[in-house]
Symmetry: D2
Subunit: 480 residues, 4 copies
């Protein structure tokens, strides 16, 4: 019974780049990414990001003037606006008052506002009226609150994103206008980040709302001042959100054979999934609930529904996992003579992060007084949660330390109203302005960002191809 | 492969008493009831019910006077009250306005009203103030409407039960009072007949509300003028209503091993039940729904619930069926390391019907002009749905033809407001009064009812004992 | 909650023809058969079977002479041959010694024997060498023993069928030959009655082996002397025997995602069936076993199999039941990404019985001394177990009392060797000879049998059509 | 939706000791082992194993003489004996001829043989007749062949273990005897290594068979010349082998309610396990088969059985996994009203490996000409597969390169008969003799081995305690 223990445990001896968290979470992924990661290391070395950071963050009165204007707006008006929104939380897709306040402010500062966009009532796009060609600077705002057990609340501090982003947008727009520089500023109001369906940014992206942007920035609350490592990835796996709706035929309990039981169908969706858990790689996470489980115990249920989040570290094997779950639903319908509708209502995918934005942004956050600094870059990931925008357009999420509480807590909401929050928002607004200034005024910087982003995007494509090769599906012969 | 086909099909050759529907629905039950049914036939023969009917329904001016008074109340006031309640439907346990109207009327006619009773807000007991000892005549009223998809509605015509019953109660109370006869009249307001939990009449019965009654009557809408055969039974099997509530431990979807999944538990309750369906006699009906099936797909559900109706033709084997379902729940909890609470919230059981009341009542319905007469008596069953009262106290449900629509329809509600309904309610009120008159004034009749009821009750006990003997549980040896 | 109890229990009040067991076992079937049964009663009345019986069983020296010859063969040689076969039991499809003994005897009496037939090693056809046209008299012989826990045994007394049938065949062949009468005698050796697959008689029937026969007779052990009522039916429901074979992909237990689990597939076949048990009419019986359930616990099983008997009282709804089971298998394969092969290896269906043969045969059994007489005819059913032959060609199974033990017991085997068995076999041989004599010599009798058989066959077709109309499949809308 | 990605992926950044494969396979285990591994590193450093190796493998004519004698026995007789056993393979527990050959040889060389031992027919203990106190040198022999699809075969080369071990045992016994040195030699014949139940070495160990041994050695075929790192571990997880046997009650398919279905029980064992797969840490491997799945489709199965291997990287959490599976079986019995017997028939657990034996053995293998050398030590693991002996008594498995084929192949069997195998066996015999010589003659060496072994054993205990602390069971509140 001597077994070759080597293959089984080879995962563990993969030597890891000291300190940073890799995007590849499974042995199979690390194996597939081996060549890609070598090329990425070469790309990063060729960019000399530390040199770039030094040059950009050197003394620059013009930049400081624009940053000062953003600071002025924040101090005078926008922190107050943030507090106002914090105190009047609205959950996703009904943030009507919140966007009205943001839109009013933008209009006052010469932005032209389109609302709704992409069929979403509380999505908007605001363009500075005197925009002047490329480069196109985009600022993403979010404003939805969380659903608490007793009330909506801003436990993720989205309430401050609008004011912070607007400070940078207005300051940059005024600068470009005043100096007659080439460049445009566009603000994107993005609803319902915490909810799906729909997946708002993906809907907007697919409707072409972000077309033409050269860079996108966003601010977000955080317990530490951090930035992602360059690469591709996501915080919490690639996700498919899917609803399975079953219909049967009703019948009185006394003659159930005259009906078809949609509850049995939804139950066997779960049972079928359980039957293949051991045939699916162990890193998958498949979890569902039954929001509709039948109406009355004396009638055969004719309608039921289940809601699932299906996750895997990469999108390639996720497709195979998803097929297992869809087949589980189809099999449940087949066995129970019911019908199923598969409603694939949303997804999150790997985004791209670049060091040319991440390290410069991080340096500015330090410069403008951010504390609680993460020494090493975090896991590579996009600046927004769906991956649809952040894998297509370079950008950066600013995350200066703004709370002592974990995300999604009532304590983080409270912190939004006091010193710790205000200080973080101010740092984000200043750093965002500085980075946009550099991006707008330095063609060589834009070229470096573009080169890095395109390079990583190509490597991400290579990685996906490599994964497709390793995830072979077992061959099953016909039974005899 | 010659098989003894005889045992398998012997059920079919049981010779049935011509025309009438037996309470025994399975071969096993019919086998167990063989001796009991013989004794019951002898009991019935000894009572000479046809002779009794002839004697009672012969000309009787005193009776006709009391019946005339009931008719007067109906014509002048109570049909209008019925229409009023029909037009203002209230569902079970919130029939506040409906009972107020009935109570007001009863108080006006010298009844003393206690409300609430037995902890039920809309249950009441009304006693005539000048009640005078035995015999105790009880009248059951119901008044709850059905839950429709868009509104509450009186699709079962419970709206008329109060007015009909009150007509008889007031007429009889006045008669006893006027003639200084011995006897008492009590009216029982019983809420929520269409809903459980709670099972209102059972709750009231167990609280002693019906104690001391010698007879109970009730009126109910019907598509035909009918009466039950003497015996014991129920319309739609003996039922246990049970809720199974599971608790687990919550955990984020990414680390499900830190939780315990209450949704898997409730799912496996159903799966476990399905696994023994073929080990349970085929007449059982077990049907459930999942009103609580977990909250969010990215969190391991820590609370779920299922609601079941468990039915079997008799209560003895129902206990074995119930044990299978309870064990299915316990096994689901055991396997998933969750906990389960078994909430047995209601039941219906066999009631008792007697020919001495049924045939006399039927004869009066004919006499007072009922049409659409069922030639043969229907299945034996109690005069109320739970069986708790109707298996303890003799009584009769009056069901003169009052609608052309099936029960539980909007059409039956409409019929309550027009000729067909009004005529049926009037017949019920007159017949009920006549029967109560006979019962109050003829000790020999009371004795006959009592003898029949006690006889059938004893035979029901014998039948239950016989069933216990035939439903042996298979013996399972220890595995080796 | 007043419910219409009438529809639910109408089954029970169907008035049954006194005494005899109907072929229709469910309320739905009885409803569908109502018109057909009326027509069948008219057909039977028109045949005047009692008159026919009187005429045929009247004194007839020619018949008695032939019967005497059969008796002589039985007494001198064939009971000894029966004992010999009883003492040397061989199970189905390997009855090599048993058939050799029968074939040797037939050859000795001028029969020409073809073996094997229809691809079955131990099936044979023996034709009298001087056969002379129509009518064609067929005698079915069986000879397979049962599989006991410790040894093969003749617990169903098939060991005597050959000798009994040969006595009648030889006696009739000699008679026709001697009298130069028109007519032929053919003996059919049918293996493996107790086993499938294959379903031997169906295989032989479909190969045309029985083509041209005008009547078929068989003898079978019994605890009572009985005959079936005229009609169509089967002892123990219509049956589909089906094997479901699953293939997956093997993998070591440590990396199960590299395999596809055929054991999960077969398990979920059962689970899927259980999920629809309450959606199938309760008279269905679906029962399976897992003869192949995987090889080693440390390897993902790549081949499994389940074996099912699927039963329903009629073949029409059986098709719907079968679809549920087949779909359960397909769904199990779909959900587990395995493959399934559905091997429908055998079936039993309703056969046809006619009173013109049954009552005459019964009268002869009485005449030749049979005891333990069943007063009423038994359930209608064919003279062989598959229904394939017995629904196409008229015939009769002779069942004189030949044992005090139930079928399929070691005691019934013992009885084959003593007085009770020998007496029954002798009665069967004599009665069979008498009936064949009448059939061969009386054209009017042949016409009556034919008219009854064709009439019932047509009515069976009408019944099947009627069933198709009542078994509607619930309609399931698309989910929204 | 900003999530703390750090906790989730911290596993990946644990810095690993370069090159060697750790015994800890999960993040939780590595976390729990942190302190233990530090202490182990200190222990190893304090032992100066490289220095020890240098001293022992220096020139030593006495040792060379004894090694030469082993070589002589191998060359002249024992390779031929190995070939003989290879050509006459016998599977586990019936190795009667194989042990007879080994026993005969041992007796010829003055060993006293006890057979059977510990209740195992083909287990034996052979003690040299002139044994002379401590130290006690034990040699383990195995000799069982593998079960092939068509024949038994020595695909793991156990056929050579006896001859190799005997060469060393005889050479050392003769040396101690000749030189009147203190010391004893005992040979342990251990059957059925490839099969359980029973787990032969564990049975022998628990019967005290190995009591008193100071060191144990064994030879085993290998594709590379290797040795384990010091520590504790197992090649392929800790395993519980468990059989679940269900009993029900039989019944004909037509009346299944008279039975209790043991097949449903075993099916729901699997279904129950599947229901908690997502509640169990993903490194667990639970895989079963159904060797007994019911007998006939027309009878309710009354006996079934499932056979499981349950694995987890450590024995502490394995207990929790095991409880899930046992509870799944108990729940299946509870739900189906059957009974279950849990037969825990065998287990494998972490063994202990020490560098003081491993590195010295490896140096000798090199010295005696082994090729295909593994540069780094392999995963820590015991010298025998159960862990029961190897976690209690220090020892070493010798694995010189002896085949070009993977273990458990017909090719490895062939290699046992040619140059590559013979050379490996010879190297093992010589190295084993040399190591035993050192152990017998050098008290300081014995002390070092003992110190290392006791140290690691204590650390293993600490590790188990640390694991117990981290594997908390979620708390489940009572449902309300």
């Amino acid at each position: 019974m001597k077994a070759a223990s080597i293959a089984l445990f080879s995962a563990a001896i993969l030597s890891l780049a000291a300190g940073s968290v890799p995007a590849q979470e499974t042995p199979t992924e690390r194996e597939a990414a081996r060549e890609v990661l070598k090329k990425m290391a070469a790309l990063e070395q060729s960019l000399d990001v530390p040199g770039l950071v030094s040059r950009l963050t050197a003394a620059n009165p013009a930049r400081d003037q624009v940053v000062g204007r953003a600071r002025e707006l924040i101090d005078k008006e926008l922190l107050a606006l943030a507090d106002d929104i914090t105190r009047n939380p609205e959950i996703g897709f009904v943030e009507h008052q919140s966007i009205q306040k943001l839109i009013d402010y933008l209009k006052l500062h010469d932005f032209e506002v389109q609302v709704p966009v992409a069929g979403l009532d509380t999505a908007f796009v605001a363009r500075f009226k005197r925009n002047n060609g490329a480069p196109n600077l985009g600022v993403i705002l979010e404003y939805d609150a969380l659903r608490g057990t007793t009330r909506a609340f801003h436990g993720d501090q989205h309430s401050a994103q609008g004011p912070v982003g607007i400070a940078a947008a207005v300051a940059m727009a005024e600068y470009l206008d005043r100096t007659k520089s080439s460049g445009s500023v566009v603000v994107f109001g993005c609803p319902g980040e915490e909810m799906m369906p729909p997946n708002a940014k993906t809907v907007m992206f697919e409707a072409g709302v972000f077309n033409g942007m050269d860079v996108l920035v966003r601010s977000h609350s955080s317990g530490v001042t951090s930035r992602p490592a360059p690469g591709f990835g996501t915080c919490c796996m690639n996700i498919d959100g899917v609803k399975y709706i079953f219909s049967g035929a009703p019948s009185h309990q006394l003659q159930p054979w005259n009906g078809r039981n949609a509850l049995e169908a939804v139950i066997h969706l779960f049972v079928n999934i359980d039957s293949v858990r051991s045939s699916i790689r162990p890193e998958a996470r498949i979890q569902g609930v039954i929001p509709e489980g039948g109406a009355a115990p004396n009638v055969v249920p004719d309608r039921t529904a289940a809601d699932f989040y299906i996750r895997y570290p990469d999108a390639v094997y996720l497709e195979q996992v998803r097929k297992f779950v869809d087949d589980a639903a189809r099999a449940a319908a087949l066995a129970t003579q019911t019908k199923v509708k598969i409603d694939f209502y949303g997804k999150t995918r790997d985004g791209i992060s670049v060091a040319t934005l991440g390290e410069v942004g991080f340096a500015y956050m330090k410069m403008f007084g951010a504390t609680k600094l993460a020494v090493e870059p975090g896991k590579p990931q996009g600046y927004e949660e769906t991956g649809s925008v952040s894998s297509a357009i370079p950008g950066l999420g600013f995350s200066a330390y703004s709370s002592n509480a974990p995300n999604h807590t009532y304590e983080m909401e409270s912190d939004a109203l006091i010193e710790v929050g205000h200080r973080g928002f101010t740092v984000d607004a200043q750093s965002m302005t500085a980075l946009l200034f550099d991006f707008a005024t330095r063609p060589d910087y834009r070229a470096a960002v573009k080169r890095e982003f395109e390079g990583i995007k190509a490597l991400f494509g290579e990685y996906q191809e490599a994964l497709k090769k390793v995830y072979t599906v077992p061959s099953v012969p016909d039974p005899k």
